[in-house]
Symmetry: C2
Subunit: 366 residues, 2 copies
């Protein structure tokens, strides 16, 4: 299996990405194709013991920086994302992973691979970025995480379908429960978008469990939770921010209070990447951190494009990169694109119709 990895993508690229790539090649036994500036990658790679590992370099002369506009992937024609996606398109790699500019990564994937289209069936209008949100007892799939700020109800229905297929076929969850983020439990709560999506989900044949309030996102009430990319982005970033906020508070208070509980300031997950001393934690706290640490999940798949592309967190450390490659490998093993196609084919006709059947419309349900 060959996983193409954007060596230039992420806040700590290329050093940390290469470190993660070496870990992935060694621990997972996959070939990791490093895409980026050969002159920068080669000396960094030489610092590692790569004997027996397969880590070829595919040169790309340009980089889309983290702060650049999404469309920079069009202007910089030889950027590492476009080159990496082309590898997938041309069969030179089974999947592409980037921890770089996520908007640009999504654009590169969409331009390079196009969208999934089931012949005579559903055509995906917009891909969605999904993530694994730490819920109890198991993480749930939350999508869209920012690809679409202003989607239509039909887009949200398609997100739900793709999420359901992913949960069912890749994660092995039988009859996954689908929820939608809203500002109240009742069916009449929500923006116009949510209220118009609600009946589509009800009629979709999916296992729709209704609205999920902000306080319930982490409570495991649904396996797949859909929302627009704006709200999804706020949810993810707020969750990260809250952890950091608590850490700062705990730190200043502990300093002030003269307490000697170093472990305490380390228990907050999102900040763990930036903090040393995880080993100081008790085993119990380490388990908590692990359960909510996004570095464990590595990267999230972009669902709906016609190829396997995963987007990681810009702050990814080497472990997160390694786990991103692992997530990509799992998607390849599960034949993600064909799984989604197959899942979309199996949808009840009513759902397919609502989600935009490309063939003739089916007879209305009785």
């Amino acid at each position: 299996m060959k996983i193409a990895l954007d060596a230039m993508g992420g806040d700590h690229a290329p050093d940390v990405v290469i470190e993660g790539a070496v870990m992935a090649a060694r621990e997972l036994g996959v070939e990791v194709v490093l895409v980026g500036d050969r002159a920068r990658i080669q000396p960094l790679l030489a610092r590692h013991d790569t004997a027996g590992l397969s880590l070829p370099i595919v040169h790309a002369s340009q980089v889309v920086e983290m702060h650049e506009h999404t469309l920079a992937v069009k202007e910089k024609r030889d950027n590492s994302m476009t080159v990496g996606v082309r590898l997938v398109k041309d069969g030179g790699a089974d999947a592409f992973v980037t921890a770089g500019n996520s908007g640009a990564g999504m654009a590169a994937a969409l331009f390079g691979l196009g969208r999934i289209r089931v012949p005579g069936g559903v055509k995906i209008d917009r891909p969605a970025l999904c993530t694994f949100y730490p819920a109890a007892p198991n993480p749930c799939i939350l999508l869209d995480m920012g690809a679409n700020a202003d989607p239509q109800p039909e887009n949200l229905l398609q997100f739900a379908m793709m999420g359901a297929v992913y949960a069912g076929r890749v994660m092995g969850i039988a009859n996954p429960r689908i929820g939608i983020v809203s500002n109240g439990e009742e069916a009449d709560k929500g923006t116009m978008l949510v209220r118009e999506t609600y009946p589509l989900l009800q009629r979709s044949g999916l296992n729709f469990v209704g609205n999920v309030e902000g306080k319930d996102i982490g409570r495991g009430l649904a396996d797949v939770i859909v929302t627009d990319g704006f709200t999804g982005n706020v949810i993810i970033k707020l969750s990260e921010g809250l952890f950091s906020f608590l850490v700062r508070h705990l730190r200043s208070e502990l300093t002030r209070g003269g307490l000697n509980k170093l472990g305490l300031v380390l228990l907050i997950p999102a900040a763990v990447l930036a903090l040393p001393g995880l080993a100081l934690l008790s085993p119990a706290l380490r388990r908590i951190v692990k359960r909510v640490d996004y570095a464990e999940y590595g990267a999230a798949p972009l669902l709906g494009v016609n190829g396997i592309v995963l987007i990681g967190h810009g702050r990814s450390n080497a472990k997160a990169i390694k786990n991103a490659v692992r997530a990509a490998a799992r998607a390849v093993e599960n034949d993600l694109v064909h799984a989604i196609e197959a899942g979309l084919k199996e949808l009840p006709p009513s759902a397919a119709a609502a989600a935009g059947q490309t063939g003739p419309a089916p007879e209305p349900a009785a």
Copy 2:
């Protein structure tokens, strides 16, 4: 000073509300008018030592329950919210506080008091519910918290104005910084609503500092942060939910790990109301909890209605009720409605025009 309090409102009403009212009357020296079912209130009140305190009852025969639709305030004409708001309207109280059904509370306030309208100037189209979000070093004002799921850009501009006036005149923050929730820092990020509001805020004469991402809401980058009521609701409830999630994790992990750190499971703020044993915490941790515990803030003002109405959390305990009365008393002392009117009058003409001047439009700015 007379504060009318909805004795029937909240998950723990009327018992806990009455307990909080007694505390408020004693500690704050204000008259607390208990609005609700006299037959239920009187025996509960008799259990407390109320000697020397002013706690009159104004009878209301009906209650809008927590789960009822907002418009129940119209159907149940003698409900405690409508009666309490009428007291404010008729001068029988200086402010009204409820921890009941927040949608119904807003509706009762809007129907009973109308909206603020500056003669020849800005007319508030929609009131906004604001809250104090725990940010470092000081809490920020976050609005709207759920009164408007689908506002227009002009509504968000008005929310910003009212928030700025509140921050400046009531909280004493000079030239308060105004931000808007978005999914990126750049001006071109956001939903269409956010992108259309952005230039209005830029031209408003307010101290607009731009977009605030989810991760930065608690970072004190702005004193007033505006958003639509849907996103605001998700932000608040997600924040509460995250705290609870951590508590549950910590609990199960601690049990499993056999650690003996009881204090640890108590440090998470939103859950504190439901948990005993705050005294077990170290002084340092108690300070943290206090800083982020919503019971400390008590209730948030509904800005834009022509009278002082505060909405508290449905889960309010007696301390939260007491602090809600305190927040109401502070709003009365600061003459909140006239302060907002005066602030709106002082707005630069460009801002007033964008926000919907009721008089003739001003000359366009050069």
